[in-house]
Symmetry: C2
Subunit: 363 residues, 2 copies
Amino acid sequence: MKIDGTPYRCVWVEPSDGWSVRIIDQTRLPWSLEFLRLTTVTQAAHAIRSMQVRGAPLIGAVAAYGLALALRADPGAEAMERAAAMLNATRPTAVNLRWATERMLTRLRNTAASDRAAAAYEEAGLIADEDVAQNQAIGRHGVELIRIVHAATDRPVRVLTHCNAGWLATVDWGTALAPIYTAHEESIPVEVWVDETRPRNQGAFLTAWELGRHGVPHTVISDNAGGHLMQRGAVDLVIVGTDRVTRSGDVANKIGTYLKALAAKDNGVPFWVACPSSTIDWAVSDGLTEIEIEERDASEVTTITGRGLDGKVTTVRVAPSGSPAANPAFDVTPARLVTGIITERGRCTADAAGLAGLFPERA
Amino acid sequence: MKIDGTPYRCVWVEPSDGWSVRIIDQTRLPWSLEFLRLTTVTQAAHAIRSMQVRGAPLIGAVAAYGLALALRADPGAEAMERAAAMLNATRPTAVNLRWATERMLTRLRNTAASDRAAAAYEEAGLIADEDVAQNQAIGRHGVELIRIVHAATDRPVRVLTHCNAGWLATVDWGTALAPIYTAHEESIPVEVWVDETRPRNQGAFLTAWELGRHGVPHTVISDNAGGHLMQRGAVDLVIVGTDRVTRSGDVANKIGTYLKALAAKDNGVPFWVACPSSTIDWAVSDGLTEIEIEERDASEVTTITGRGLDGKVTTVRVAPSGSPAANPAFDVTPARLVTGIITERGRCTADAAGLAGLFPERA
């Protein structure tokens, strides 16, 4: 997608040298746009661990390029396995990370050491390109939902989203935002309600920033406002991403997603979940009992980082000292509240039959 | 209630001089506890307008004392009417404000100028004492709900609340928190989940502070977390306050209340609303179509105030510059989601029959 008119991906090989890896430092957004140049696998691992890159698909692609950097320095089998282990250890729960390093190793273990670095760059490029293609396909399947509303109303289509499942979470296009960017490309007018998404504010910090820089009309709201907006008929459609979908259609996503799904159901607003099929966990059926919810540090609730009037990025405390806080990071939206899933193969109902229909080889 | 062991009200007459009016400056909470001394009606009006005092019952009591200050300076009829008009103009939507000044004027217009100041102090004192008595009654009727859960489980009762309907919003005891303080006095163990309540953070800033200073166990959570906690069985009861209840039981309250009511319904968690009968608007039936929702300034969403690591209270921007924000301040929870209303006369179902049963003279 574009930043003020210039197209970018979230990870790419620096064209001037043909080997170093460039990323956007997402810990600095939305306050400043800074590009980092990764030259070692250690730097790549640090970028993932410190969340300079985040979002499962993007983490996988950066890990793949990290392995390429490692092999450029030392193409030996031992160094390769050590580099993969280092990358895998950065974020233990991200499924795409292990998937990407496994895919790389499968190819590279059968490649002569002298050819490994070149093969690694090629495979990492394929992983990145496939992510983009998958997200574009999600965009094509999802934009139909927006097109239908626009055709029926002839006014901008108001889509609410939670957290960040935009191009910043992937190599490009995003998942939940892919249908929105596709609509924007096709000149279907869209207006996005962006939940700020406390406590980490990925909505206000990342989603609002990427939509704004690409030129998509949007409005930031507190997480509390979505139900009211749906009651007043101001939301045509909800589209969110997901961290894990069970084979029965339950959806784990950023904390607060469940509340928006309840409000959508109560007001007859379609509630869609966009994800690549790699996010479907075919081994799990009941999201509420089988998905463990990460409890993150209380300081994410009791403090917030923003830009002061002096221009400096500052962290302030927003709870009384002495008041404890709890910070469950995700919740599970039961399938009964989900209108459907948008995948790279098309849309389906959020249930075992719907998912099995699109992915018969997995069900 | 107590602040670190010392009992306070939110407004009182300074005992050392017998006439000046003391308040807690709530704009400085939770960062510092500062008491203000009001000596003129202009100062009282400023305290209400600038939200040094807030919460409908407290505003009414401070306005009543403001009129007493005015009459101490000039007991003439013209000055009295001018002072009442100035107080009424501070917060045009607060029902209790006009109710309190009307009650004061009704008594004072029939009082000789020479007796007016003394009568005004007496009437203001009655208004304050009646507020406290009403809230204590709400506490007695509400604590039964907590007692029943404790008797059945023999463990601390986990109550979730949204925004601040505590003693800081009233003269003392609060509305939603009155049952909680009553339970605490009766040694029934309670643990309160405090929604931070973006965008103005009255939960984290005021509710957490007053519970903490009084010694009531509590945990601050992001507004997104409540649904998840209810799904996992971590909430026994929701109690919130309200700005207006329709005669059919619809409840207008701080934005986000509706989302918690939906989650409570979905998980079989009782959802109670506590208010004095003055909050019931007998002229309004359908909350969704008849209650206008205040749209407040976008800066409340795009900025947040907290305490920096340097100890200074600082306002930081938490949305990208260029991203607009919307800020509806209240929402309406339909009566069908409300388990019941707790009033000074007892509990009732949230419907026309329930409310009419408790208040037959109004229905």
